[in-house]
């Protein structure tokens, strides 16, 4: 163990490659923070009277944040950073826990946060179902819960206050639109699926498939394999794909990392930019750079900067105001048209 510590210590003298495009900014950028998609009056709302809690002052409250996955991909990094930054700005005490992609751990994480005295909870759920024990425990203590980026299958304004996040099915549909635009609506496409059993995978697939069926029956899905949201898997799956289906027209990657893996595979197979159309979801800087370089044709954004919106929601709610139950945020998209100008907004 001592050796390991030594190893950790000597990282002081590291020297990484100089980054050509400047270091990745990951904190909540000003102009790129989330915008609510439909602040229409018709959407359902929730307030503290209906929910049944006590008003409190957010400044003196303790907020617990349960992150689902390791802060190792740009989305999670930006998400956690944004919440931490906002909490810092508002002077709120924030407790964090990270489930390391293990659902059982996330359940106990949230319970630990409650036991540790969190008055309010922000949860980035790993899975939509299975929250029963947590919800009951929170309900007993009347702790308001805001879920971010994924939804919890439960009754809003009873079990939790509101959900802030993107509509993954919608993201799939928009990706399909981009794919249709790029391919002209004809040909064969492959889907690089996310991790199996994950809602995000399911919904992004469903949206994509539905929209293709509806709008471009000429575009056939001939290949569906999981790349587990990782670049390496995306690359090796795509390598096999282009060997067995050399005529593939497009690849839809359910996140940027797999899309970038696909780009790698195409490059080393000697393809040229544009030979195979690629559409991805997330909006990381590397992927947007891919558009600029011509390899990627469209990136549907999934905005991770939940901090301001989440705290604003909690603030209004604890003051007694009405907040929306479903706060769907407006995700932008990067295409050939705006990639160069908007790359600064990517995370």
């Amino acid at each position: 163990a001592g050796l390991v510590a030594g190893l950790a210590l000597c990282t002081g003298c590291t020297k990484s490659e100089s980054d050509a495009s400047g270091s990745n900014s990951s904190a909540a950028g000003g102009d790129s923070s989330q915008v609510v998609a439909t602040p229409g009056a018709d959407s359902k709302t929730c307030d503290i009277a209906t929910f049944g809690g006590k008003k409190l002052d957010l400044k003196t409250a303790t907020v617990g944040f349960s992150q689902s996955e390791k802060e190792a991909n740009p989305f999670r990094i930006a998400e956690t950073a944004s919440l931490k930054a906002e909490a810092g700005k508002r002077g709120v005490k924030l407790l964090t826990a990270n489930a390391q992609s293990q659902f059982s751990k996330q359940i106990s994480d949230v319970q630990d946060l409650i036991a540790k005295g969190a008055d309010l909870l922000v949860i980035a759920p790993l899975n939509s179902d299975g929250w029963e024990p947590v919800l009951r425990q929170a309900a007993a203590k009347k702790i308001p819960i805001v879920t971010v980026d994924r939804k919890i299958n439960a009754t809003p304004c009873t079990d939790y206050v509101s959900f802030i996040g993107s509509d993954f099915t919608e993201q799939g549909k928009r990706a399909a639109d981009e794919m249709i635009k790029a391919t002209g609506g004809k040909g064969e496409v492959a889907i690089l699926l996310g991790a199996a059993g994950n809602n995000v995978t399911t919904e992004r697939t469903k949206g994509f498939e539905d929209r293709l069926q509806e709008k471009a029956p000429g575009l056939k899905i001939v290949f569906r394999q999981t790349g587990e949201f990782a670049r390496e898997k995306g690359q090796s799956v795509t390598e096999n794909l282009i060997q067995s289906k050399p005529g593939i027209t497009g690849v839809y990657a359910e996140n940027d990392e797999m899309g970038l893996g696909a780009v790698n595979a195409l490059k080393s197979a000697g393809k040229k930019p544009g030979d195979v159309k690629i559409v991805t979801v997330d909006g990381t800087r590397n992927a947007v750079q891919g558009i600029v370089d011509g390899w990627i044709d469209g990136v549907i954004e999934s905005n991770p900067r939940f901090g301001p919106l989440a705290f604003q929601t909690l603030d209004s709610f604890t003051k007694g105001a009405k907040v929306g139950q479903d706060i769907v945020i407006q995700d932008s998209a990067y295409t050939k048209g705006n990639a160069t100008s908007d790359i600064g907004k990517a995370y």
């Binding site: 005295g117 179902d129 697939t205």
Partner: protein
């Protein structure tokens, strides 16, 4: 005559040393757990609270049930890598079955998981394939089966709240959750089965020296088949209880659970090479792992990467301490 008297006298000295070492072997993990808990309750106000301890007991219970089955397997000198997948499969089957009533919700996962364990045991006992590889394949197979019945994980079956089945997960008795009671009962039964029945003796014998056990007439194959079936049954049961608790058949459960269970069993003083082990130690091992996790959450502000370093470091310290306490007379 007096020669044997001297021998016996000398023997008792040896026995005392041996007993002490056995005691440390059995309770090394317990000492570590107590020290850890003591330090934690002084360092964090919210550690030694009723709520926190209840959370700890609850989250530990499912892993503990899995570790119980693993203990039997490891005492026979085997290993079962399939428990994580079987746990997930059991949960999904229970949730799916709950629409047909509590009985189906409970029996279906037990039947299917028991069958998987039985196949494991048959392959290991009859064809003498290495347990590691057989159960590795079973881990893939059980995961595949689970994905297959959930449309590749897209469908999450919810537990029917009308059936009594949910009470197995969410019910409470004297302020303690049902899974905790069930776990306690299972461990009692497990301890009796391992220490006080012929089956238990055979488990030790097979792990202690398989060839000798066969020559002594112990039913080696039957014992192995039984332990793997038992392990899968318990993993399936833990999955079902977990599904009742979560009220749904979550499809992303159980990854890495086999390693947690193995770590818990070994930290609890069971020899991976077989022939020596304690059911109670495994329980302590599980609590130790979960306490480490809990303490990391008590700190409350660690980056995910640091969390892993810390829990890895803890693990190293715990196993060094445990091995040191349990250090036995060297073979050499």
């Amino acid at each position: 005559m007096s020669a044997s008297g001297v021998e016996a006298g000398r023997g008792s000295g040896v026995v005392r040393g041996e007993r002490l070492s056995a005691l440390a072997q059995q309770h090394g993990a317990l000492v570590a757990l107590l020290v850890l808990a003591l330090v934690a309750s002084f360092s964090f106000d919210s550690f030694a609270t009723g709520d926190n301890i209840e959370n700890l007991a609850m989250t530990s219970s499912f892993l503990a049930v899995v570790a119980l089955g693993m203990t039997f397997v490891i005492v026979t000198g085997g290993i079962d890598l399939s428990v994580g997948s079987v746990f997930a499969l059991g949960g999904v089957l229970a949730a799916w079955g709950s629409r047909y009533g509590a009985l189906v919700a409970l029996l279906l996962p037990l039947a299917v998981c028991g069958l998987i364990g039985c196949v494991n045991g048959l392959l290991i006992a009859r064809t003498r394939l290495a347990p590691f590889i057989v159960t590795l394949a079973a881990m893939l197979a059980a995961r595949g089966l689970m994905l297959n019945i959930t449309d590749e994980g897209a469908t999450t079956y919810l537990v029917d709240k009308e059936t009594v089945f949910v009470h197995l997960g969410q019910g409470r008795l004297l302020g303690v959750g049902a899974p905790v009671w069930i776990t306690g009962a299972l461990f009692l039964a497990g301890a009796v089965a391992l220490r006080r029945t012929r089956f238990g003796q055979n488990v030790y014998a097979v792990g202690g020296n398989e060839d000798a056990a066969a020559l002594m007439g112990a039913p080696v194959a039957r014992t192995k088949i039984t332990v793997y079936t038992l392990s899968a049954l318990l993993a399936g049961l833990a999955g079902a209880l977990n599904a009742a608790w979560l009220a749904s058949g979550v499809t992303i459960l159980g990854y890495g659970m086999e390693l947690d269970a193995i770590a818990a069993v070994v930290i609890g003083g069971t020899l991976l090479s077989g022939g020596l082990g304690f059911v109670s130690g495994s329980l302590v091992g599980v609590l130790l792992l979960k306490t480490i996790q809990n303490i990391i959450n008590q700190i409350g502000s660690l980056d995910s990467a640091y969390q892993q370093v810390v829990s890895g470091g803890f693990l190293v310290v715990v196993i060094i301490a445990q091995t040191w306490l349990a250090r036995r007379r060297r073979v050499a």
